[in-house]
Amino acid sequence: MKLIIAVIQPFRLDAVREALTGIGINGLTVTEVRGYGRQRGHTEIYRGAEYAINYVPKLKLEIGVDDSRVAEATDAIAKAARTGKIGDGKIFVLDLLSAVRIRTGEDGSEAL
């Protein structure tokens, strides 16, 4: 199993969710984060002064998936999240040693 971590533009969430549901992935955890990469923030104007906003709001998705679904899932996310503009985000994949569904105690792929 793998844990996919995707950092995306907040307004792409609905699209990504639909894409994942479309390929039958039905579990997801979302966190509000801020970050920067190539996209270096923007400036806000107050009373004639400009402030540099260094961290851009993003959403981080964490999705536990079966090994067999990883490629498909990252593709789906990438496609749905892409706008082609700077700031579109990143997808990271980590190895997942185990997964447990708390309610039933099931583990492994059953739990995802």
Binding site: F11, E32, R34, E44, Y46, A52, I53, N54, Y55
Partner: protein, 412 residues
Amino acid sequence: MVNAADTAWLLTSTVLVLFMTLPGLALFYAGLVRAKNMLSVLMHCFAIACLMSVLWVVVGYSLSFAEGSDYVGGLTHAFLAGIGRDAVHAGTSIPDSVFIMFQMTFAIITPALMVGAYVERIRFSAVLLFSSLWLIFVYAPVTHWVWGGGWLAQMGVLDFAGGIVVHTTAGISAVILAIVLGKREGFPHHVSPPHAPWMVMVGACMLWVGWFGFNAGSAVAANTTAGMAMLVTHISAAIASLVWMTIEWIRFGKPSVVGIVTGTIAGLATITPASGFVGPMGAVVIGLVSGGLCYVAVEIMKRRFIVDDSLDVFAVHGVGGMTGTLLVGFLIPVSLGGSGLAEGVTVTQQFTVQVIGVVATLIWSGIVSYILLKVTEALVGLRISPEVESQGLDLRVHGENGYNIGLGGSTL
């Protein structure tokens, strides 16, 4: 002659009515939208308040209250010309300056009410242009008809504090706006719940207390009419709130904060035209009717017509204002604790006049609003791009975020 006591009350009432918009209505509406658009809503209300104030001084007051035709006032008082520092407003015991200010706060809140119809998707320049044109071509004439000695006034229409002038005009124009502008992306199936119900309630509380200035201030004196207007306003608001709460409780098992305060506004809007005329029992009736009727109106607009009058301006203000206007003749009799119909006027006659007033206002406001929208569209465009809509107006249009409470206060 200026009566200092009446002046004191009208000065206070003016403060209260301004407070209804700034920040009452602004908070009420801002709490109902998504976090990413909440500043834009505050901005709409605030900028409208500023701009309408200027226009009121320039021509609005004159077109509404100066001598003129039966349909619109003249330009004698444009730029407040001919208003003496110590002048008493004719037919009242308060200074002209106070009358102008008091009425200005009505001219502020009426266009601001329509903000609820176009949130989360309109261009800021369209807000400013449309509101300005609307003040001149819809609000000022209708005000003249009803309160400025125009044709409806001459027919004896009863509208104590703005059931026609404020709520009917804004309500119908809101529907037209919503239709011409189109739905928000995702409406009706993927819209988000109010981002801050607590803020909605705080706004509603401010509207409630401010409304005492609106209705009791419309007596233009600190007298028994003002006192009774305040009492009936309060009763109607309280009852309509409880009605709405009860309906939700029965239907869904969960009486909501947003629900109960929507009932409040319905009760307040509906009693408005009747507030100086009816007694406590009339207020009970109006409270009961308004809570139920506006509830149904919201359902119908959202479910049947699928018009994205986003924050229910028509269903609450429009339906409420019209209902109150139509009911006033039935509830005014002295036997019901009311102030009584004018000598020789029957309930049916009064009802007919009220119907004429409402229908004429609906037609005029609707058609003119449509035209003004087309003009606005041609001049500055109405709708923001889908990209700005999805990213939020706050950051994209105004360059700000409503909430910067994260990251422990480090440089964001």
